[in-house]
């Protein structure tokens, strides 16, 4: 097997790092196996479920269908990077308050997608929220409390 290594340098949750990676290494495996993060999850490896969602230069992307080498020189945010100085992000707080999660497996991806949604639509309608979250699957909640959480977080961000 060809195991040619590439060097990548990137910024993850505000911290720079450099690693040698196989060209075929998926970004999700890089984050989980090389960097050691546990927030981004693997739910399908086909970019359908969104459990692996991270922010790449502020945009929500599915890290299971990107190679680690494609993240070279970019800024990545995972759920681990959302709280600042131990203070939860308004979205994290809202998901907790509104019971926007049950098993929690989809939650990191869901919150990061919601983060981009609120960046694009600071005061989203229910329809905009539902449409914006369509790429993230949750099998537990029926989405209603997730919608409530995003609404609540939007209210706080706008206040």
């Amino acid at each position: 097997m060809l195991r040619m290594e590439h060097t990548i340098s990137l910024n993850i949750n505000g911290k720079p790092r450099t690693d040698e990676v196989e060209p075929r290494l998926l970004l999700i495996h890089y984050l989980r196996e090389v960097v050691g993060l546990t927030g981004p999850h693997i739910g399908c490896e086909t970019s359908v479920c969104g459990a692996c969602t991270v922010l790449l230069d502020g945009k929500a992307v599915k890290s299971c269908t990107m190679f680690a080498v494609q993240a070279n020189g970019r800024n990545l945010t995972t759920i681990e990077g959302l709280a600042t100085d131990g203070k939860l992000d308004p979205l994290q707080e809202a998901f907790w308050n509104e019971h926007g999660l049950q098993c929690g497996f989809c939650t990191p991806g869901m919150i990061l997608t919601a983060r981009q949604l609120l960046a694009d639509h600071p005061s989203p309608t229910e329809e905009e929220i539902r449409h914006g979250l369509e790429g993230n699957l949750c099998r537990c909640t029926g989405y209603q409390h997730i919608v409530n959480a995003v609404k609540a977080a939007a209210g706080k961000a706008g206040a």
Binding site: E33, T38, H41, C44, E80, A83, Q102, G104, G142, Y143
Partner: protein, 777 residues
């Protein structure tokens, strides 16, 4: 009604946010795939691409030659190990020997054939592709009705009729009831195969310690203790040398209420290569090789009087079992039989089940497990009867409900319904939608050529599984409560929550009983070395059985706390409140921390009292609990496209007393999402050769945020007398109540076109064709 000492204005009954969430919203929880160990290897399972085939050869040398590959094992290597177990025990049940890896034949697509182990996940995956298996494809059968027809290919050559079992149950005199009937309605109703799709797939990590001859098995499961007993049995290992730990579990819905080949296989591999081994299922494997649910073809007959009084019910179930029995496979349709009368006063019932082997992955417990099928059937039949008699669907239900004065009510299927007020949620739901106005609106819509439907279901279900004599492997639950020397409280529960939130609800119950702050309580579950034996979480039993065990353990502990409190306060009797014992005569009090210290330091002991503050109870429930409710769904069908719009979804559920309304709402919403999935979108489709056509998330449509309607959820509250908390269970209610309400609504929308029944899922194509063909299927 039950006596209960739950006090008003305490934590129980309040929708507090969950104790488990901080780790989940920060990405710091430890799910199975987050476990890493030094020297850990990775396993990949090679699976059959065929639905049925002979294996004429396997070559593993190319895989073994790949650098980093440590081993490849095939059927011959594990032929000596015990079969994958089934706990279902029906008379005459045919149980094929279920090896951990296929021997000379494969029986379904996804059947495990070999396991490849390597130092790296990517190398293991590469090596799996290098395992060469020679298959000689055989004719397959994937439709259960075709499977039991003459001349079908035999799934297991030793049983050419593909019949794993037949089962008959009756109550009253169905034949006589049908003779007396003014009207008889019949209908074939299917409940299609579904795929559970927990967002986290299955996974196993096995760590073998050769010096101690002990194994730690991490498994994403709903049943850690049963897992330990059964995997030890497969491996021939002493049970006390095996420890099972469930890390954070990313959803189950019944799919992890099982012991699969992979748990024992990964443990076996770890022993053979002397390294920790991890296996994580891919999503495609999850679709092909984790149990499916439902898979019914049902034939219903209802006998009634002209005034709508229902007299008798006959049901024949053809259950698609798949190729093997998993843990509860054959037992699931027997739950459908128990539930078949629904909430109605059927005195005369007759039921038959034929269990059919097919070349598909086994079916087993998926959210509702037998009860959604039964509820869908009876709720469709009641509507069909109402249409036949030109009665209103609400009226015919109210006429036939078990009445409040009849509880406990003995059903013709041998159950004892615990408590109920079946008319209450229906009347509440009808009031919420303003039913007469809705019907008037429907008249106007029809006059305009629009297709508007109003559908209702009044469901019952069997929860709090269950009394041990009625369960395959014990139905009790256990709890231990410990006041630690510092006064902090640890709860160990045999339940194994995986999203339901019992770390919160159990802490609420404990905080109220002991009067301690909820922050001082830690609820521990899912570790067989820490927690006393337990049964697990399924069948809406966590709080209704596990919570009741906790309640009784707390009563024992409180009695002991009071003994130490009285000793410290040098008095005869004390009260326990706000985390302290109080001598009401003197006004002196002792805090729980002081009492705990005294109990562990043990310089002095109360009479006939041991040191320590620990209480354990194993609680055997005297009965199931029987929640009920009414769902009303308003739909509008697009005549041009067959698309269904859900205009309104009203759910009034009676689940007994509510511990945490926020969590209950979550369970209802999630349950409805899965019921709606069955009603509208989801179907596991195998072609005739055994290929799973709907084999990925892109081909199998589960609910998305934009496809869900707003759910208006409310409750009536009829306490259960079965347990001291008065709770009934809520995990499956939404799923069970949903699908018949949706289908009844769509049939109602199309009824004037001659449509009488539609099988799920109600895809736009199916609905459009019905409209285009003037109601004829």
């Amino acid at each position: 009604m039950a006596t209960t000492t739950i006090k008003p204005q305490t934590l129980v009954g309040r929708g507090i946010r969950r104790c488990e969430d901080p780790r989940l919203i920060t990405g710091t929880a430890t799910y199975l795939d987050d476990i890493k160990m030094p020297g850990m290897h990775h396993a990949v399972v090679v699976r059959s691409p065929h639905g049925a085939a002979k294996i004429s050869g396997i070559r593993t040398d190319a895989a073994l030659a790949l650098r980093g590959v440590s081993a490849v094992f095939t059927g011959a290597d594990v032929a000596h190990l015990g079969p994958v177990p089934t706990a279902a025990s029906l008379p005459g049940l045919r149980v094929p020997h279920h090896h951990l890896l296929a021997q000379d034949r494969v029986y379904y697509q996804g059947h495990p054939v070999a396991v490849v182990v390597a130092s790296d996940r990517y190398i293991a995956r590469d090596a799996a592709d290098l395992v060469e298996v020679d298959y000689e494809p055989l004719p397959a059968v994937t439709d259960p009705e075709k499977a039991i027809a003459a001349g079908a290919p035999a799934v297991h050559p030793e049983w050419p009729d593909n019949t794993a079992f037949t089962y008959h149950q009756e109550g009253g005199d169905a034949a006589a009831a049908f003779q007396q009937a003014d009207v008889i309605v019949t209908q074939r109703i299917t409940s299609q195969r579904l795929i559970p799709v927990a967002m986290e797939t299955r996974g196993v990590v096995a760590e073998w310690r050769p010096g101690e001859k002990s194994m730690t098995l991490y498994s994403s499961t709903q049943i850690p203790h049963l897992m330990r007993s059964l995997v030890a049995g497969i491996l021939g290992m002493p049970e006390n040398h095996l420890r099972v730990i469930t890390p954070e579990v990313g959803g189950g819905f019944g799919s992890k209420l099982n012991v699969y080949a992979e748990e024992a296989l990964v443990a076996f591999v770890a022993m053979r290569i002397n390294h920790p081994v991890k296996w994580v299922e891919s999503r495609r494997e999850n679709f092909q090789a984790t149990i499916h649910g439902r898979g019914h073809v049902d034939y219903y007959e209802v006998a009634a009087k002209r005034d709508g009084t229902m007299l008798g019910l006959k049901l024949k179930i053809i259950q698609d079992l798949g190729a093997y029995h998993q843990l509860l496979t054959a037992a699931i349709p027997t739950l459908s039989v128990l539930m078949m009368p629904g909430l109605y006063r059927f005195k005369n019932v007759s039921a038959d089940i034929v269990g059919a082997f097919t070349n598909c992955v086994p079916t087993d417990a998926y959210r509702g497990a037998g009860r959604p099928e039964a509820t869908h059937g009876i709720e469709r039949m009641v509507d069909i009867l109402a249409a036949e008699l030109k009665m209103d669907p609400a009226e015919i239900r109210l006429k036939n409900f078990v009445q409040n004065s009849e509880f406990p009510y003995a059903t013709a299927t041998g159950l004892s319904y615990d408590s109920g007020n079946y008319a209450a949620p229906l009347k509440e739901a009808l009031a919420q939608v303003d039913y007469p106005s809705l019907r008037a609106e429907q008249e106007r819509a029809r006059a305009e050529g629009r297709l508007m439907g109003i559908g209702l279901s009044t469901y019952g279900e069997i929860c709090a599984m269950g009394p041990s004599p009625a369960m395959p492997a014990g139905g009790w639950e256990s709890a231990t409560v410990k006041i630690e020397p510092s006064g902090k409280v640890t709860v160990l529960t045999g339940a194994s929550p995986h999203g339901q939130g019992e770390e919160t609800t159990f802490a609420q119950i404990t905080a109220d009983e002991l009067g301690v702050p909820i922050e001082d309580i830690m609820v521990v579950h899912g570790d067989t070395a820490t927690v006393q034996y337990g049964i697990g979480t399924f069948g809406s039993r966590g709080t209704a059985v596990g919570g009741a065990a906790l309640y009784y353990a707390l009563q024992d502990l409180k009695a002991k706390i009071k003994k130490f409190g009285a000793m410290l306060l040098k008095t005869d009797a004390v009260t326990l409140a706000n985390g302290a014992c109080l001598d009401e005569k003197s006004g002196n009090s002792a805090s729980l921390a002081q009492i705990a210290t005294a109990a562990y330091v043990a310089k002095e002991l109360p009479p006939n009292t041991d040191p320590g503050l620990v209480a354990t109870r194993f609680w055997e429930p005297p009965n199931f609990t029987f929640p009920f409710g009414a769902h009303i769904v308003v739909t509008e069908v697009d005549r041009e496209t067959g698309q269904i719009e859900i205009r309104r979804y009203v759910a009034v559920d009676d689940i007994g007393r509510i511990i945490n309304p926020l969590l209950v709402a979550g369970q209802v919403h999630g349950g409805v999402a899965q019921g709606l999935g069955q009603a509208l979108w989801e179907e596991a489709i195998y072609d005739d050769t055994g290929q799973l056509v709907s084999g990925e998330l892109s081909e199998y449509a589960i609910a998305k945020a934009a496809s869900m309607p707003w759910i208006e959820s409310s409750h009536t509250e009829t306490p259960s007398p079965v347990n001291p908390l008065g709770v009934k269970g809520v995990g499956e209610a939404g799923t069970i109540g949903c699908s018949p309400a949706v289908v009844n609504s769509v049939v109602d929308a199309l009824s004037h076109l001659g449509v009488r029944h539609i099988d799920m899922p109600l895809t736009p194509e199916k609905v459009w064709k019905l409209i285009a063909q003037g109601g004829r299927a």
